[in-house]
Symmetry: C2
Subunit: 345 residues, 2 copies
DNA sequence: CCCGAGTCTGACAACGTTGTCCAGGCTCTA
DNA sequence: TAGAGCCTGGACAACGTTGTCAGACTCGGG
């Protein structure tokens, strides 16, 4: 008869349960439960015996069974685009802190901007019966969440509103921020301003584009199609887009970058240019102040967004909150040099 | 009789169970289970009826109950220092990708470098019966994990070895990386080289310090105490430490920065200096190539570390892996300018 | 000495799912 | 047409915990 490897044997070795602890301590099952949960009504002597048995056996309460009985899991889910993105790290951390303050754990998943994967993740989290969900949506139809909402899963959307359902959403003033950033360039004398952004099906990208257009219109500047590059992702494509709008017959004198990744690539391209080109980016980036010139940005506070969303989530769980709302957080223009370069006409 | 708020009412509203689905579809409980899990032995007609009932009721399987029955949770835990740190974001993401490939979800927690909080988090994860744990330890005694290991919780430590228990560990060659980085500075003519690092109770910090000392000793350079600044955390204290070793009677001509956060602060300090000072940092930082001068670093590949650890974890779960091992990944010296500045004596 | 109140303890059901096992109806063959 | 074998469906127990409830024991007062 073949022996399974040792580790594997241990793996399937069963863990001690309250029943085992009770047997060893010579008490009833419920008494163990009482000790484990710090409930009153246990003599110090009994408690000592139980505690001893717990330590000796290395018992740990099985929270799955507990959840099954109690209904609450004390965990919340966070679905975002990519945890490796420097914007989401701090956001995730601040959500975790709020969760921790409420005794909850955080499960996160990256959707990679894929609507199908978003749904898959969200439903997996629901199957685990998370108490609440913070979702940075990739898709634009969230009707699949209706049964969950009805069942009372607290839900807050972040960065982009939910599609076809009525839910809380916390986001930055993408429109206003972009408008201010572009207006800043206009105020410094630019008229031919380029815009490089993500796919307009992404809400933030669309809003920032709208802000760009509004600023240009406010200043009475007609926008040439060749100044706008939409839906470019990946460094190579962004690079090509930037190079195209910098050359040609009607080259731009300034660029507004639609997100942090675009900004980084554009910085690289501009470093290779001979003539100075102004730049304002959406999202702050680390070390932006140490570059030559410093990078002017429209900053949003990721940690603040995360905290606001998480707090709202737990207020839903309290029952304090009833009506879904849209909360828009302000952005901040940080001038560091690159946005104040005059046009080199 | 007071009505609870609508949302709250929904919250405590019970979710449909397989029993409800079975009743609605007019079949037995187990038949529903079969359909949900794609098991064979159900007529297409019956399956259709069941599926209809599932959709109508918005049923989602309760994984807590499933786990209770099956033993496996298909989730793994990751405990790290701070998700907001740009080193851990990519690491976490790569662990998540491997988990996803194995159909598992990832729960993460930040220990904030606090041993007690680490233990608290790890035990909470074990109570949830995660199948495996990836731990970047804050503490140095992990005997509390013994019952878990015995029960078969797969465990891999990352970045620093476990204390007092025998477990897999995946880490960078901190000693060798630091030694090479410092030797690089020596090769460019420096003799008075400063070291700024984290508390030596942190394994990585101690190893990097050891690498610094080894490089200096190899070159026959005696090290002055005033050149070493250990256990400094927080930008202000790092700043003060850097300023001190740059002034005084025996100022350093080069600095080796022990981690990414120290590097960033030192860059700021150096930017304010009149004389040029060489710098090599441990960990790569974004945009390091665009600064003037570019920042020379000893880079470790966070994503690779995470992937290696996670893959090992799942091989433990397979039963493929039996004996704990120590896996050391190489670091890479990336020269960009700051490390090649000659001493300004 | 007895009774009531209060304290401590344990038996039992229930949470929602899956594994086991058996029943009944069908098809196929002799 | 009977018997064997297969296919489908369902009853039931079990997973480990917690809530309910009742029993046993202690103590103090009448």
């Amino acid at each position: 008869m073949p022996q399974p490897p040792l580790r594997s044997a241990a793996r399937y070795g069963t863990r001690p349960t309250m029943k085992d602890v009770a047997a060893r301590a010579g008490v009833g099952l419920k008494t163990v439960s009482r000790v484990v949960n710090g409930e009153p009504g246990v003599t110090p002597e009994t408690e000592r015996r139980v505690q001893e048995a717990i330590d000796a056996l290395g018992f740990r309460r099985n929270d799955s069974a507990r959840v099954l009985r109690k209904g609450r899991t004390a965990s919340i889910g966070l679905v975002l685009e990519d945890l490796a993105d420097p914007f989401y790290g701090p956001l995730s951390r601040s959500v975790e802190e709020v969760a921790r303050a409420h005794g909850a754990l955080l499960i996160n998943g990256s959707s990679a901007e894929d609507p199908e994967r978003e749904q898959e993740l969200v439903l997996a989290l629901c199957a685990r019966r998370v108490d609440g969900l913070v979702v940075i949506p990739a898709g634009d139809d969230h009707r699949y969440l209706e049964p969950e909402l009805k069942a009372g899963v607290a839900t807050v959307f972040v960065d982009r509103p939910a599609g076809h359902i009525d839910a809380d959403v916390v986001l930055s003033d993408n429109f206003g921020g972009a408008r201010d950033g572009v207006a800043h360039l206009i105020a410094h004398g630019h008229r031919r301003i380029g815009f490089i952004g993500d796919m307009p099906r992404i809400h933030t990208a669309a809003e920032r584009l709208r802000g760009y257009r509004a600023a240009m219109e406010d200043a009475g500047i007609p926008v040439a199609d060749s100044w706008m590059s939409l839906g470019v992702t990946g460094p190579e494509r962004v690079r090509r887009a930037a190079e195209e709008m910098l050359s040609g017959t009607d080259p731009v004198t300034a660029i507004f970058a639609g997100n942090n990744r675009v900004t980084v690539t554009v910085i690289r391209v501009l470093a290779e240019q001979t003539r100075p080109v102004a730049l304002v980016g959406f999202d702050d980036i680390e070390l932006a102040d140490l570059l030559q010139p410093g990078v002017t940005v429209v900053a949003q506070d990721a940690a603040d967004i995360g905290r606001t969303a998480a707090e709202r989530l737990f207020r839903q769980l309290d029952g304090t909150l009833v009506t879904p709302e849209r909360i828009e957080l302000p952005t901040r223009l940080i001038t560091r040099g690159s946005g104040e370069i005059p046009p080199a006409d």
